[in-house]
Amino acid sequence: MTTNAAIRVQNLTKRFGSFVAVDDVSFDAAEGKITALLGPSGSGKSTVLRMIAGLETPTAGRIWIEDDETTYKSVQERRVGFVFQHYALFRHMTVAQNVAFGLAVRKESKVDQAKRVDELLNLVQLVPFADRYPDQLSGGQRQRVALARALAPRPRVLLLDEPFGALDARVRQDLRHWLDDLHRELGVTSLFVTHDQDEALELAHEVVVMHEGRIQQIGTPTQVYNEPETAFVAGFIGSANVLHGRVASGHVRVGEHLVPGADHLEEGSEARAFVRPHDVHLSAPEGDREAVEARIDRISTLGWLSRVMLRLGDGQVLVAELPNDDLIDLNVGSTVSVDLRRAKAFETTETSEPVGAPSA
């Protein structure tokens, strides 16, 4: 196996009774990088994280941390830092005692403990709060304490379970940037679980998209956004128009129009074409033969860009987003030519229904 995988998970499966929470999951988390496990709730991502930490026992599969197989090791032996969604701070201990806990149970000397606690409180900018109790801190401060506590015993990897999930939007944004800076400084391999695609795309070097216990795609943020491999990924990450049709000679036939990009699909099968609103290009009605014609239903402004609602010949709705400057000559009720060449087509037989498609 490659040496730059700090965490390696192979064929990991977890069943709770007859329910399969995690189904044959394999991936690597690269040394020194941030990897995100992204998926909607119930996709099994937290269970994967808890199995890596040893908090859940896998039904099948193997786990390595830094080339050391930990599948059957106890939680304590794995030496991982874990940050919980609801902080899980020890409420009867001060901030300093919380951070020192991992060192105290390893019987490190008081002097070393104090030094390390000081170092970490400096890092998370909470030195003045050392003697406070968790219930005297704000959510963001608590999460920083939790992070300092997890980092104190110098874990081999850092695992974060929805680390910003319990915080309000503004604090969330701040903490996200702060965590990014912190990671640049420490370089500790981090694996975090989130249902928030913005968080995953912004923070992670690599994203593992999960759905219904299975991995849908592994790739860089750019890859999962621009080259979705499954209909689920296409619909879940970013917003996308979904057009239903049937495959005809490498195209998806939507009404009387042909949307390209279905060469890999079987002739005549049901298919869906996904196209992002900003990938829909509008132009004057005549021209390109592959262009589809549509009528403008509504135009609304989103500030620096505008959203144009279109209706295709067969009644399906299409949303386009374009800079305000490109709006010239576009009027409600007029017909335009729509370029859908950047659409991605997927077979409809898949059970996974995409979420996050734009609302009409």
């Binding site: 908090l55 030496r79 919980f84 609801h86």
Partner: protein, 294 residues
């Protein structure tokens, strides 16, 4: 034909108006009445007997009090009560805490039944408990032969008296610790383990400090009950004077033997311990609530 309806009288709701003052007066009167009723009720039922015991205990002066405490039978009765209470506390605290943990943290077949069974001693009359003990360990009982063959005296001695007290006190620790454990959740335990804490370290550094007031509350309740228990203990004690006579049993027989004052003195001592326990219970209850609220 028309029915003349009187227009509803308008009530002047401006603060301080005659109407509002009248309402306020009436409200105050009702509230005052309820408070007075409660006070009266508590005075007669709680305070009066307590005052009575204090007065009767000191009726023959302080020397009599000292004299009573010097009586071997009284001393032995207190010793017995103390022994039973200590053993009961140790057993119910250890097993109760473990049982609470199992009931809260584990899901197993029969958990709900066990959860309900735990409260059985509260619903059962202590006399029934004593009777059951006699059936098991008394002459011809299921376990009698086994113990007698090994020369172990269970009935009419300390073991049976302790056994029934333990049975009666089972629910207190479990019922005061379980909700605190439930509220605590497993995240802190998980966090401790990921930080390298062993099971014992997790127990002593994380779980116990978090449930200490709940545990304390249960201990206080158990102590009060163990000291005050009479029904079951009486049935299995055989009431051998100076041998199997606990403080409560001593009080019972003091009156039959016209040792009223001695009876009152012992009763007052038990009452004092109860009041102290009540204080402990009150304090730990408040802390426990804070524990639960986080």
């Amino acid at each position: 034909m028309s029915v003349a309806t009187e227009p509803p009288r308008m009530i002047d709701i401006t603060p301080g108006s005659a109407d509002m003052r009248r309402r306020e007066r009436r409200r105050r009167l009702v509230r005052g009445g309820v408070v007075a009723l409660c006070l009266l009720y508590l005075t007669f039922l709680l305070l009066a007997p307590l005052v009575g015991i204090v007065l009767s205990a000191f009726a023959k002066g302080l020397p009599m009090v000292v004299e009573t405490f010097k009586t071997p039978n009284v001393q032995h009765a207190f010793l017995l009560t103390f022994q039973i209470a200590v053993v009961t506390l140790v057993v119910t605290t250890l097993l109760g805490a473990v049982t609470a943990w199992v009931l809260v943290r584990h899901r197993f077949v029969g958990r709900r039944v066990m959860n309900a069974l735990v409260e059985l001693p509260l619903a059962m009359s202590p006399v029934t408990v004593g009777l059951a003990c006699v059936l098991l360990f008394g002459r011809g009982g299921w376990f009698e032969q086994w113990f007698t063959a090994r020369g172990i005296q269970i009935m009419w001695a300390l073991p049976s008296m302790t056994l029934v007290t333990i049975f009666i006190c089972i629910p207190f620790i479990i019922r005061s610790v379980a909700p605190v454990l439930e509220e605590l959740g497993t995240e802190e335990e998980d966090a401790a383990r990921t930080l390298g804490a062993s099971t014992m370290q997790t127990l002593f550094r994380v779980i116990l400090p978090n449930i200490r007031w709940g545990l304390f509350y249960g201990i206080a309740l158990t102590t009060a009950r163990a000291i005050g228990e009479i029904g079951a203990v009486l049935l299995v004690s055989g009431t051998l004077k100076g041998k199997t006579e606990t403080a409560t049993i001593y009080i019972l027989y003091a009156f039959e033997e016209r040792l009223d004052t001695q009876g009152y003195i012992v009763a007052l001592t038990l009452a004092t311990i109860s009041v102290v326990m009540l204080g402990v219970i009150e304090i730990s209850k408040r802390r426990k609530i804070r524990e639960v609220m986080g």
